[in-house]
């Protein structure tokens, strides 16, 4: 465990908090961590409780399950209920409620819904069942979209015609733009996502400083990574700089994964617009199959309802995803909406902010409040 200790060294964390306190000099700064993984680290390690009160962290839209709107879940269920279809999905998506239940309930009504770990597993099911149609429910940011792309290239090469993809892939940059345009939220900078940046690199974020004058620091997932990311953001603000910086050089390179970006460009094209839960329709934010792969596009092979469905009234996932409210500020958090009986996506997905706060954050927050720990630098 020698490797890990250096990222969790309490003395180093204390020094980082001291630097944050000194540089920010009491000025209120609001930073968004885009990625759900960062949200988990923040709650799990009680980072909010050790930061000075003038540093506020808000959670962003970087949870791929959370941003799928209800209408697309309804479309998925309609595809699953097509006669003869084997519908394949990642486990997380099977518990996301549509307007008439979730995929697990569709399965219990008789639909052939199967959980897969990888899109390649869905392709294997298609090859093993040539008399059946197999549809793969593709979701995710650029971390998973290249895998769907490679799977489609393989399906075409092998001439597998009983396989199709219901694409709900999205890209991370447009929602950042939408959040920056939103009047609801004034941010001072971003902690850039970790693993998605291993694929897209740091260059796509350059518009954040260039067009919106906000710094962005791509950070790793250890508590010290996040504290160092905050230090780097604050140093930029103090020095009057505004740029994309990389704290997570251990995994992220500026150019990203060039091969993964090539297969994305080959297989997908941008939709004119795509609906995000809570964020509404965002231009050029969703990926559909390019004309060369039209034969494998489930939306062309079947007619999906494609009806926009409003979120349940009580659910405030939209505000959580935009960083406008914290999970515990939602009216149904922890009462009507729990990981066992989720109403909203942020509680369904283990990568969601509400699940993170339900599982970890509330304990560290409550403990800090009870003990009134003077956790700030001594």
């Amino acid at each position: 465990m020698k490797f890990v200790d250096e990222y969790r060294d309490p003395a180093a964390a204390r020094r980082a908090v001291e630097e944050i306190t000194a540089i920010s000099a009491g000025e209120h700064r609001k930073f968004m961590e885009v990625c759900g993984g960062h949200t988990h680290t923040i709650y799990k390690h009680g980072i909010e409780n050790v930061l000075p009160a003038n540093i506020e962290l808000v959670h962003g839209p970087g949870c791929p399950v959370c941003v799928i709107p209800m209408g697309r879940v309804d479309d998925a269920i309609a595809l699953a209920e097509e006669p003869g279809v084997i519908f394949t999905s990642f486990g997380d998506m099977m518990r996301v409620p549509g307007s008439n239940g979730n995929l697990l309930e569709a399965k219990s009504r008789g639909a052939d819904v199967r959980m897969v770990y990888s899109p390649l597993d869905a392709l294997r099911i298609a090859m093993a069942n040539p008399e059946r149609q197999v549809v793969f429910f593709a979701i995710g940011f650029e971390t998973t979209a290249p895998s769907t792309a490679v799977t489609l290239i393989k399906a075409r090469a092998a001439g597998v015609t009983n396989f199709s993809v219901f694409s709900n892939h999205v890209t991370i940059v447009p929602p950042l733009k939408a959040i920056l345009e939103s009047p609801d939220l004034r941010l001072d900078g971003f902690i850039g996502p970790g693993h998605v940046s291993t694929v897209i690199g740091n260059r796509p974020y350059r518009f954040v400083p260039a067009q919106y004058g906000k710094p962005l620091v791509t950070s790793g997932f250890e508590p010290l990574d996040i504290l160092q990311g905050i230090v780097m953001l604050l140093r930029q603000l103090r020095d009057g700089r505004c740029e994309v910086e990389n704290q997570y050089t251990r995994a992220v390179r500026d150019e990203g994964n060039v091969r993964a970006l090539e297969v994305l460009a080959e297989v997908f094209e941008l939709r004119p617009h795509f609906e995000w839960r809570g964020l509404g329709f965002i231009s050029h934010s969703g990926l559909k199959l390019s004309p060369a792969f039209a034969d494998w596009d489930a939306e062309l092979r079947y007619s999906v309802p494609g009806i926009r469905v409003a979120d349940p009234k009580a659910c405030q996932c939209g505000e959580v995803l935009k960083g406008v409210i914290k999970p515990w500020e939602c009216k149904v958090f922890g009462t009507a909406c729990t990981p066992e009986t989720p109403i909203g996506t942020c509680m369904v997905s283990s990568e969601g902010a509400c699940a993170a706060y339900y599982n970890y954050g509330r304990f560290t927050r409550e403990a800090a409040a009870q003990a009134r720990i003077p956790v700030r630098s001594a």
Binding site: Y117, V199, F221, V263
Partner: protein, 93 residues
């Protein structure tokens, strides 16, 4: 899914088909290595560490980063349990 899990490439099954076996915390599964084989970046060989998303190696990392990421993922409890269960059960070798 969106968070990669770190694994070590322990066997190349078929380089032309991009098939390899990775070991994640003692559990082995076939993965696709087609996106981390770039010659410019030194290709991929047995013993190297990768971040795995939905059965595909998506980034090469070093052993130190693998240990740190595994510890982070394990810390997340249910995320890790679900991920490793799916990794284990999806395609028995």
């Amino acid at each position: 899914m969106c968070l990669g899990i770190p694994g070590q490439v322990v066997e190349i099954l078929d380089l032309a088909e991009h098939r390899a076996v990775a070991e994640v915390d003692g559990v082995r599964r076939e993965i696709n290595i087609g996106l981390v084989m770039s010659e410019a970046e030194g290709g991929i060989s047995v013993g190297e560490w990768v971040l795995i998303h939905v059965g595909f190696a998506m980034a090469k990392i070093d052993e130190e980063e693998a240990a740190s990421t595994l510890s982070f993922i394990k810390d997340l409890g249910s995320i890790y349990d679900e991920e490793i269960d799916q990794f284990r059960e999806s395609t028995p070798l």
